[in-house]
């Protein structure tokens, strides 16, 4: 069997593409988090914005990923580099779970707790940092978790526009009808997703609100 030989032969490439995959997903998640958490807080403050904003990010989510990469291709600046296209597309998919969960988490904070926070003289910033965000954290982390797992999966499609990542193997494998190549991309991608899911799940458990039965 050439299994051992195949691994030995492709080991370097698997490592490189895994790193590339990680970098694409990681960069996208950083941008998505930096946009989504403030956006979630904003729509929790101005409830009138919640529907339109969630509507837009929801629509982004419904665009088939291959089409999304295609749409971005002709755009100036973004379209110039494959990695940019991939990251922007991934950010688009990561927004919804984080925005929605930040919004749900903050609006779900017990009304009496917030009333007392105001009545005892906390400033807006103190209420956000000391009460709302910590109490919404399990929700926010659950959103990050969903977004990360989604991104790891969708990032495999980024290879279609030449952005690299583990999708390279999969596309090559499909083109040459070589399942070993498909698996060389799919297995590390699945492991990445599982690892991210496990790590964020652990964090979520660590930061859970004691005594609460919310997630």
């Amino acid at each position: 069997m050439a299994g051992g030989g195949f691994l030995a032969q492709h080991w370097d490439e698997i490592a490189t593409l895994t790193l590339e995959h990680l970098w694409l997903t990681g960069a996208a998640m950083l941008f998505a988090t930096a946009i989504s958490i403030p956006l979630g807080i904003l729509i929790a403050r101005r409830r009138g914005l919640a529907r339109p904003v969630l509507g837009v990010v929801n629509t982004l989510q419904t665009i088939p990923s291959l089409a999304m990469f295609g749409f971005l291709l002709p755009l100036p600046f973004i379209g110039e580099r494959a990695a940019r296209i991939a990251i922007v597309a991934l950010v688009g998919y990561a927004l919804l779970p984080i925005v929605r969960n930040t919004y749900t988490g903050i609006t779900g904070v017990d009304a009496t707790v917030m009333d007392v926070a105001v009545a005892m003289g906390m400033t807006r910033g103190q209420r956000l940092m000391k009460v709302e965000l910590p109490l919404a954290m399990p929700y926010i982390l659950a959103g990050l978790r969903t977004a990360t797992v989604t991104c790891v999966g969708i990032a495999t499609i980024a290879a279609a526009v030449g952005a690299g990542g583990l999708g390279e193997f999969i596309f090559r494998g499909v083109a040459s009808v070589d399942n070993r190549l498909v698996l060389a991309g799919a297995i590390p991608a699945a492991l990445l997703a599982l690892a991210a899911d496990g790590f964020l799940g652990l964090l979520e458990w660590k930061l859970r609100v004691p005594g609460e039965r919310r997630p």
């Binding site: 007392v116 005892m120 003289g121 000391k130 609100v209 004691p210 609460e212």
Partner: protein, 253 residues
């Protein structure tokens, strides 16, 4: 000396014109306890919340320590007034000690000072600091939670305490216990007695804790009497209220 709290012709009207508070004039002398009685919807809670600026007014004036609420810094005003509600609203993610010290914490006091104060207050409400300071709110009984809520409301040296049905959710025995804890605390937490404005449905509680009892009806002051004169009052509104309450108590026992 100015009254600790003074309402001058305070009215609050909803946009549709309905008045929740109607021309309320009332004084709470420093160091006294005034109980607000009345049916649900009579405006008790609304009136209480105008004191720390949690509720606006349409006309009139609310003064705290002789100065209009509207002209005071809201954040500083709120930090100087204790606030206790039936549901306690303890922060579920903070320990009991941190809950109690929270006003001091947001004022930026030192850790040592906060801890010392929190421990002292815990003892004053009858909970051993050693045992309770590091517990989480969900590990407490209803009565213990309310003790912590009370300690938190007074930890930063507040000399005015607003209480909205503070003991309404407790069983009768715990409730009686808490009334004594409150009395003791308002007398000893500072050199001067704490001023208390107390919203309650419980006539006995009002008579036990307050020097003056104010009966609200549809947002108006229907009676403002010394507690020891309340039951013998000939005011129709008071007689009707007392009778209604007594009938309810009778039906239950």
């Amino acid at each position: 000396m100015p009254a600790a709290i003074e309402f001058r012709s305070v009215s609050y009207r909803l946009p549709d014109g309905r008045a929740l508070l109607h021309d309320v004039t009332l004084e709470v002398a420093a160091g006294t306890t005034v109980a607000l009685l009345g049916k649900s919807g009579s405006g008790k809670t609304t009136l209480l919340r105008t004191v720390n600026g949690m509720h606006g007014i349409s006309s009139g004036e609310v003064l705290v320590r002789g100065r209009p609420v509207a002209s005071q810094d809201t954040i500083a005003l709120r930090r100087s007034i204790g606030y206790v509600v039936q549901e306690t609203g303890l922060f579920p993610h903070f320990t009991v000690g941190r809950n109690i010290g929270l006003v001091l914490e947001i004022e930026g006091r030192s850790r040592g000072e906060i801890q010392e104060r929190a421990r002292a207050l815990l003892e004053m409400v009858g909970l051993h600091a050693e045992e309770f300071a590091e517990r989480m709110p969900h590990e407490l009984s209803g009565g213990q939670r309310q003790r912590v809520g009370l300690a938190r409301a007074l930890a930063a040296g507040q000399d005015i305490l607003l209480m909205d049905e503070p003991f309404g959710a407790l069983d009768p025995l715990t409730r009686a216990e808490m009334q004594d804890v409150l009395r003791n605390l308002t007398m000893h937490v500072q050199e001067k007695r704490t001023t208390v404005l107390l919203v309650t449905h419980d006539l006995e509680e009002a008579l036990y804790l307050a020097e003056r009892v104010v009966l609200l009806e549809d947002g108006r002051v229907a009676a403002n009497l010394r507690a020891d004169e309340f039951l013998s009052s000939t005011l129709p509104a008071v007689q009707a209220y007392v009778q209604a309450v007594r009938r309810r108590v009778g039906a239950h026992s």
